[in-house]
Each structure stands twice: as structure tokens, then as C-alpha cells.
């Protein structure tokens, strides 16, 4: 008998190790595949367009300019992609559990960005900012941002969403819009009262020069320098680590199992002894923490923030969540990556190909919304739609 139990345990452990690896790194593999698909197909597309339009421009060689900025655009796409992916996770988890669009999630993200700004100001006032090790700075700021944003998301849920949980859908959504507006101005009030100001420049320790990865010679003497800003690199690496952590949390731990159970069937989960209210609050905490971390990384990467920056990334992250299939965690990551790449390409190449007639940066927003509308019309279940039965 004793031997049998031992063997049972062994099998269990072995299985779970294999499963853990599969559950934790499987989604990452999927993301990697999508990154490759996006990179290759979009690059081919712009090169093709450049070849077609080559004759129409006299002043510059279109193909050459296309190729020169291409590596930078890909890096930009990666950064945007991971940004949207991290924010989209918050939307998708809450949607999975409550079937409710947490409209205030963009603001949770914004608060994260302000946390790092405040953190930096605090360090600077102590005179420690200059010599602070950059990686440690990022680590502390991210942890602080996660804590603040996560707790804020939990508080929002408790005060604005839980009281209307039984009400019709529209009512809950309106309450969420109210929470979003409230948080925007609340943050602004704090920023103005503490002397940070409306437009805040995020101070950081010196991150060093951009890392040069390679120099690729293109026609003639010009070189395409493939470099990556160290902040962008930090962004991508931290986001990847967080995604791994989330995969572990949701797919392997007991808490993750409870979350999935609540997402699948709330009444039954409560009959199985799961405290549904607690799990929902924890879902908001996790989603909010991820959003806050994204905000911190955004603040470090882009430098200037204001209380209204959460709106557009929030909307686009929601688009990403829908693109990947809302309620599906891997889907949110994949959707974020795809959307980020599309946006980066539109932002960089639209004005190049139309001779500056359409400013790409502005039309990138329109491109994102058009994608949302098309996805909702033609494939409402999203890219990874067949997997939507497995919510969260």
C-alpha cells in the first residue's frame, strides 16, 4: 500500500512538472509565433508596397528609406505590443470572471505611471536618484506601482462595481465609466496638489546609450543601424517575466484554479466552497497590478505623462483583448502583440508612402479602431476564438 501511495505521488509530481512547463511556457511560444508572423508578413508587405511605389518618388529612394527604418519599427511594434498585452490582461481577466468591461482599467494603468513619477521625485528629493542602480529602480518602481494600482482596482471594484453587480449590464458599464472619469480627475487633483503638475516628466537614473545590435549595410554607403533603447529592452523583458508569472499563477496554483472555476460558473464555484467575492476582488487585484506595472514601464519608457494618458492605451488594450478573444488570457497577449505591430507599421509607414499627406501617428488610432470594428463584425470570437470556452 505504502509503495502504491509513493508511486502515486511520484506520478503526480512528474505530471505536474511537465504540465507546469507546458502551461507556463506554451502561451509564450504562441506569442513568439505571432511575433514572427507579424514581423515577417508586415515587413514583406511594406517592402512590396515600397517596390510598387518606387517609381513615383524622385526625391528619395523609397525602398531604401523603408528598409532603413524597418528594424526600428519592429522594435517599436514589440514595445507597443507588450504594452497593450499587459494592459489587455486586466480587461480580459475581469471580463472572464464577471463578463463586464472594466472601463476604469486605463486609469489604473495611468496611476501606475504616476507612481513611478512620484517615486522618482521622492528619490530625487533624497538625492539618491542619480546614483541609483537602474535595474533596482525599475524593480522597486514596478513593485510599488503594482501594489498601488492593484489595491486601487480592488477599491474600485468594492465601491463602484460590487453594488451594481446584480443590475442590468448597462448600469454596471455606466458605473465603470463614472469610475474612470473620477479616477482621471482624482489623479489630476493629487498631481496638482503635490506640485507634480499636469504634465509630468518622469525622472529616471541614467539607463545608458541604446544598445547596438547590428549594422546592416543597405544599397550604397548607408547603414541600417539596428539598435534598441535600453528602456525598451527593459520594457520587453519585464513584460515577458510578468506574463510568465501570470501564466504560472492562473494555470498552476490553487488560486488560479479558483479563478478559472469562478469564470466558468459562478454559482457552482461557490457551491464548491470558493469565496466568489474574494476571488473576484483578487482578480481585480491581479489585473490592476499588471496594469500598474505596465503604467510604470510606460512612464519609464516614454518619459512624459499626464492624468489623461490612460484613455487611449486603455481603449486599444481593450481592442487587443477583443482581437485575441476576450476572456482568454493567451488571446489578450497575442491580440496585444498583433495590434502593437499593426499600429507601429501604420504610424511609421503611412506618411512615408503618402508623401506626408496623412500624418501616420494620428491615423494609427483610427487604424486601431477600424481593426476593432472589423474584428467585432467578422470574427467576434477573436483570433484565438476556438479557445474561448476556456475562459480566463
Amino acid at each position: 500500500m505504502a509503495v502504491g501511495v509513493d508511486a502515486d505521488k511520484k506520478i503526480k509530481v512528474q505530471r505536474s512538472v511537465g504540465m507546469i512547463l507546458k502551461e507556463v511556457f506554451g502561451p509564450l511560444l504562441q506569442i513568439l509565433i505571432y511575433i514572427l508572423i507579424c514581423t515577417v508578413s508586415l515587413s514583406l508587405f511594406v517592402v512590396l508596397v515600397a517596390l510598387l511605389l518606387r517609381g513615383s518618388r524622385e526625391d528619395i529612394d523609397l525602398l531604401q528609406s523603408t528598409l532603413i527604418i524597418l528594424p526600428q519599427v519592429i522594435v517599436d511594434g514589440l514595445v507597443r505590443g507588450f504594452l497593450f498585452a499587459t494592459i489587455a490582461l486586466g480587461y480580459t481577466m475581469v471580463y472572464g470572471v464577471l463578463e463586464f468591461i472594466n472601463f476604469a482599467h486605463g486609469e489604473i494603468f495611468m496611476v501606475g505611471a504616476f507612481v513611478v513619477a512620484g517615486f522618482a521625485v521622492g528619490l530625487a528629493s533624497l538625492g539618491w536618484l542619480e546614483g541609483f542602480p537602474p535595474l533596482l529602480f525599475v524593480l522597486f518602481a514596478v513593485l510599488l506601482g503594482m501594489a498601488v494600482s492593484g489595491l486601487l482596482a480592488m477599491a474600485t471594484e468594492r465601491l463602484a462595481y460590487r453594488p451594481v453587480r446584480g443590475a442590468p449590464r448597462l448600469v454596471a458599464l455606466i458605473s465603470a465609466i463614472g469610475a474612470s472619469l473620477f479616477l482621471q480627475d482624482f489623479m489630476r487633483m493629487i498631481a496638482l496638489a503635490t506640485g507634480l503638475g499636469f504634465n509630468v516628466r518622469v525622472q529616471t537614473p541614467d539607463f545608458g546609450d541604446p544598445l547596438q545590435i547590428a549594422e546592416i549595410p543597405i544599397v550604397g554607403e548607408r547603414l541600417a543601424v539596428v539598435s534598441i533603447d535600453s528602456r525598451a529592452l527593459i520594457f520587453i523583458v519585464s513584460a515577458t517575466i510578468m506574463l510568465i508569472g501570470l501564466n504560472y499563477l492562473v494555470n498552476v496554483t490553487k488560486l488560479g484554479k479558483a479563478i478559472r472555476a469562478v469564470a466558468q460558473d459562478r454559482p457552482t464555484a461557490s457551491l464548491m466552497g470558493i469565496n466568489v467575492n474574494r476571488i473576484i476582488a483578487l482578480t481585480f487585484l491581479i489585473g490592476g497590478a499588471l496594469g500598474g506595472a505596465a503604467g510604470v514601464l510606460f512612464g519609464i519608457r516614454f518619459g512624459t505623462i499626464n492624468p489623461y494618458i490612460g484613455f487611449l492605451p486603455g481603449l486599444k488594450a481593450f481592442t487587443a483583448a477583443v482581437l485575441g478573444g476576450i476572456g482568454n488570457i493567451t488571446g489578450a497577449m497575442v491580440g496585444g502583440i498583433v495590434l502593437g505591430f499593426l499600429e507601429a507599421f501604420v504610424a511609421s509607414y503611412l506618411s512615408l508612402f503618402t508623401e506626408g499627406a496623412f500624418a501616420g501617428a494620428n491615423y494609427a488610432d483610427i487604424a486601431a479602431f477600424s481593426i476593432l470594428i472589423f474584428i467585432l463584425i467578422f470574427r467576434p470570437s477573436g483570433l484565438l476564438g476556438e479557445a474561448t470556452t476556456q475562459k480566463v
Binding site: 446584480g166 448597462l170 489630476r188
Partner: protein, 457 residues
């Protein structure tokens, strides 16, 4: 009810007694007339802008609410309303143009709130980009009444800007173009569920604003972020008559009166239209879609057509108002039509009560007064107290409306002047699904509430 009657002399009983006493025979007429007369006289004695006039102005508008709430003969109500809004208000407005402007803006927002009320309240489609249709109407008139149109149609460049008489044609064009834009947006998004629809309309609102900001290249259509200046005004066709009567009013005052009456007429027309729509086959179809789409289809309601109609009617209201707005303001630019204005209008509808026509009117009035009078007034009073500038309440519209939306949805989701059907529905829900049964799935709750709805409808 019988139980409360047996309890002796509680304040509510006394109030009821008073109410019964005051509601007998001629007394209510006398009371209301006296109230209206006192307020109007006080208002006209000293029309200078001050806290006292602010309060009196609110009380003056309160007469309209009283007229609506107190059961009086319809003829009397009509006469009073015409006397107050048609004579007293314009006269007061010539004495103090600020309040005239406030009244006109209240009217404009009443129309917008009525339009959004059709989409959100009656048909149950949450539209967060409503201001986009307003922008379409405003830009339509702005482009064609200035030189801007010459950039679009160079062949007819000589005929622009259009003559002021075209304004009336553009009122209808705004109606049509607004409705058309509504259908255009509605067609793709109609298949979406409620919350997706909200996000898509939100995106659409942003797209329109981004387009307005960026369509100065390659062809200058909207003049970009600078906006369009010196927009055309309608012809003052009654100017000779007024002068013949010997009324000493200058042109700006005449324009103010003109826009006031124009908006008043539009408000009255819109209220009649919405009221008739709501009590028609179409209104019932909207209500059935709002309550249960599947059941509505089963009952033979043409879902797509009805949803499109709701979108189109709501949007066409906004389109017409946009034309009036552009010509009243003389200047528009993209930030005029940002998200916060859509939210403003939504707050009006929620505050008054979704689906309720008097509610939309009340909500629009309250929110506009809050924006134009209360907040600046509080700011002015606070500035005396040496409060730091970051606490200026006019800067915190978002916070205020955010709080308003949360508080209303949590504590009074049916609104201040609720529609009967919705009030009963929400109360039914309160009783059947107590707060401690939050774990109940939505499906179960739907099952509990459905029978209630059926009984009422």
C-alpha cells in the same frame, strides 16, 4: 397603505393632509400662479448677475417642473408655459444676456439629451460617441457657410460661402446627414452586444474627432486643429418688424432672441416627436428590444430595422442641433466635440432617468445649470476664501460627473423622474434579488425578473 394610515400624526401624514388640502378646487391654480408671479417679478426687478439672481433663475425653471408635477388642467399649464418661456424669459433675457445664453444652452442640451435618450433609454443601446453626430452637423454648416467649402468643390468656389438663407435648408440637411451617419455607424455594429456597442461608438466618437483634427491635409476640409471661424448666421428676417415696433434692441440681442426662440421651437417639436414615437408601435418595439432581444425577435419585431431607426432618429436630433450650435457659437474646433461632452449628455440621461422624456429634460437642465452656473459660482465664492488654484471646481467636471454616474447607478438607477416601466422593473428586482444573493448568476436573475416585466407590459 392601510397600515400607515392607522399610525397617528407622523410628519408624512401631516404632509399628505396638507397636500390633499392644497390640491382641492382652485387652490393649486392660485398657488402655482402666485409662485410663478413672485419669482418672475423678483427676477425682473433686479436682473443683474448675482447669487440671488442665480437662485431665482433656478426657481423660475422650477416653475416648469411644478407645472409638470402638479395635476392641473392642460390648458392652464399650456398658457403658463407660453407666458413664462415665451414672454417672461425673453424679456428677462434682454435685460441680462447671460441668463438668456444659459437658457439657450439648456434648450440645446435638452434636445441632445432627448436624442440620446432615444438610443440609450428607449432602445437600450449604449452610445458613448453621441457627440460625433453633433460634430457632423456642426461641421456641415461650418464648412458650407465659410470659404472652407471652396477647397472641397473648387469648381463652385464662387458660390461659397453660402447665403444666410441656406441655414434653414441646412437645418434639414443636418437632420438627414446626422441620421445617415447614424445608420452608417449602426449598420456594422448592430450585431454587437450592448457593451461592445458602447466601446465601438466610443471609438467612433474619437475617430470623428481625430478626423476633424487631421483633415486639413491633403485637402483642407476642416481646417484642422485651428477650427473654423466666422461661421454664417441665419438671416434676421424679422429685424424690420422689430424696428417698426420701435423696440430698442441691437443686432446681438436680436440674434440671442432669435436663437432662443429657434431652440425653443426645436425643443417643443422634439418633445412632441419623441412622445409620439415612444407611444407608438416603434416605441414599444424599442422597449421590447431593450428588455429582451430574443423575445422581441420571437414576437416579430424587426430587430435590425428598429435598432437602425433608433440610431438614426437620435443622430438626426444631434445633427440638427449641431447646425444651430455652429451658427450660434460662430466658431468650432475639434476639442469642442471630445468625449467629455458625450459623457455630459449621458449623465443628463442617467440623472433624469433612462427612457423618461421629462427625465431627459430635467437632467439636461440640471447638468447644464451645474456646468454654467453652479461650478463657476462656487469657484468665485471660493476664490474669496484664498483656496489654492488646484482646487478650482470648474476644473473638476470629470470628477463630478464620474461621481454622479456612480452614485446614480448605485443608489437610484431609475433616475430622478423615472419612466414608469423602468421604475417598476427596478423595484421588482430589488425585492426579488436581495443584495446577499449576489452570487446568483445573471441567468437566474433574468429568470426572476422576466415575469414581472411581462405583467407590466
Amino acid at each position: 397603505m392601510a397600515r400607515t394610515d392607522t399610525q397617528p400624526s407622523n410628519p408624512e401624514g401631516f404632509l399628505n393632509m396638507l397636500r390633499a388640502e392644497a390640491g382641492r378646487g382652485m387652490i393649486p391654480y392660485l398657488l402655482v400662479t402666485a409662485y410663478a408671479l413672485i419669482v418672475t417679478t423678483l427676477l425682473l426687478i433686479d436682473p443683474a448677475t448675482s447669487l440671488r439672481t442665480d437662485i431665482l433663475f433656478v426657481l423660475f425653471l422650477g416653475v416648469m417642473l411644478t407645472l409638470y408635477k402638479v395635476p392641473l388642467a392642460a390648458g392652464y399649464k399650456l398658457v403658463m408655459a407660453i407666458a413664462l418661456l415665451g414672454i417672461a424669459m425673453p424679456y428677462f433675457g434682454t435685460l441680462n444676456p447671460f441668463y438668456m445664453d444659459v437658457a439657450t444652452q439648456v434648450g440645446m442640451f435638452v434636445v441632445l439629451a432627448l436624442g440620446l435618450n432615444i438610443v440609450v433609454g428607449m432602445a437600450g443601446l449604449l452610445d458613448l460617441g453621441y457627440v460625433a453626430f453633433y460634430a457632423v452637423g456642426a461641421y456641415l454648416w461650418a464648412i458650407f457657410s465659410t470659404d472652407q467649402a471652396a477647397n472641397i468643390i473648387p469648381r463652385l468656389a464662387d458660390s461659397f460661402p453660402l447665403a444666410p438663407e441656406w441655414f434653414f435648408i441646412f437645418l434639414f440637411l443636418g437632420l438627414i446627414v446626422g441620421g445617415f451617419t447614424g445608420v452608417l455607424l449602426g449598420l456594422p455594429v448592430l450585431r454587437l452586444r450592448g457593451d461592445y456597442l458602447a466601446i465601438v461608438t466610443l471609438g467612433f466618437g474619437e475617430v470623428i474627432r481625430v478626423l476633424a483634427t487631421n483633415l486639413d491635409r491633403p485637402v483642407n476640409i476642416t481646417n484642422g486643429a485651428q477650427g473654423i471661424k466666422s461661421i454664417g448666421r441665419p438671416p434676421l428676417f424679422f429685424e424690420p418688424w422689430v424696428q417698426a415696433l420701435g423696440v430698442p434692441l441691437d443686432r446681438s440681442q436680436l440674434y440671442q432672441l432669435y436663437f432662443y426662440f429657434l431652440v425653443l421651437v426645436v425643443v417643443v417639436v422634439m418633445i412632441v416627436v419623441v412622445y409620439r414615437l415612444n407611444n407608438s408601435r416603434i416605441g414599444r418595439a424599442w422597449a421590447s428590444i431593450r428588455e429582451d432581444e430574443t423575445a422581441a425577435i420571437a414576437m416579430g419585431v424587426p430587430l435590425v430595422r428598429m435598432k437602425l431607426l433608433a440610431f438614426a432618429v437620435g443622430a438626426s436630433f444631434a445633427g440638427t442641433m449641431g447646425v444651430i450650435f455652429a451658427s450660434k457659437q460662430l466658431f468650432i474646433n475639434p476639442p469642442t466635440f471630445d468625449l467629455i461632452r458625450s459623457i455630459n449628455i449621458l449623465a443628463m440621461v442617467i440623472l433624469g432617468g433612462m427612457g423618461s422624456i421629462p427625465g431627459a429634460v430635467l437632467g439636461a437642465t440640471l447638468v447644464t445649470l451645474l456646468n454654467l452656473q453652479l461650478l463657476p459660482r462656487v469657484a468665485r465664492e471660493l476664490s474669496v476664501l484664498d483656496v489654492p488654484s488646484w482646487l478650482d471646481p470648474t476644473q473638476y467636471q470629470r470628477m463630478l460627473f464620474g461621481m454622479l454616474l456612480i452614485l446614480m447607478t448605485v443608489f437610484r438607477p431609475e433616475g430622478l423622474l423615472p419612466e414608469d416601466r423602468r421604475r417598476q422593473e427596478l423595484h421588482g428586482q430589488d425585492e426579488s434579488a436581495m443584495p446577499d444573493t449576489l452570487l446568483e448568476s445573471e441567468q437566474q436573475q433574468a429568470d426572476v425578473t422576466e415575469p414581472d416585466v411581462d405583467i407590466q407590459t
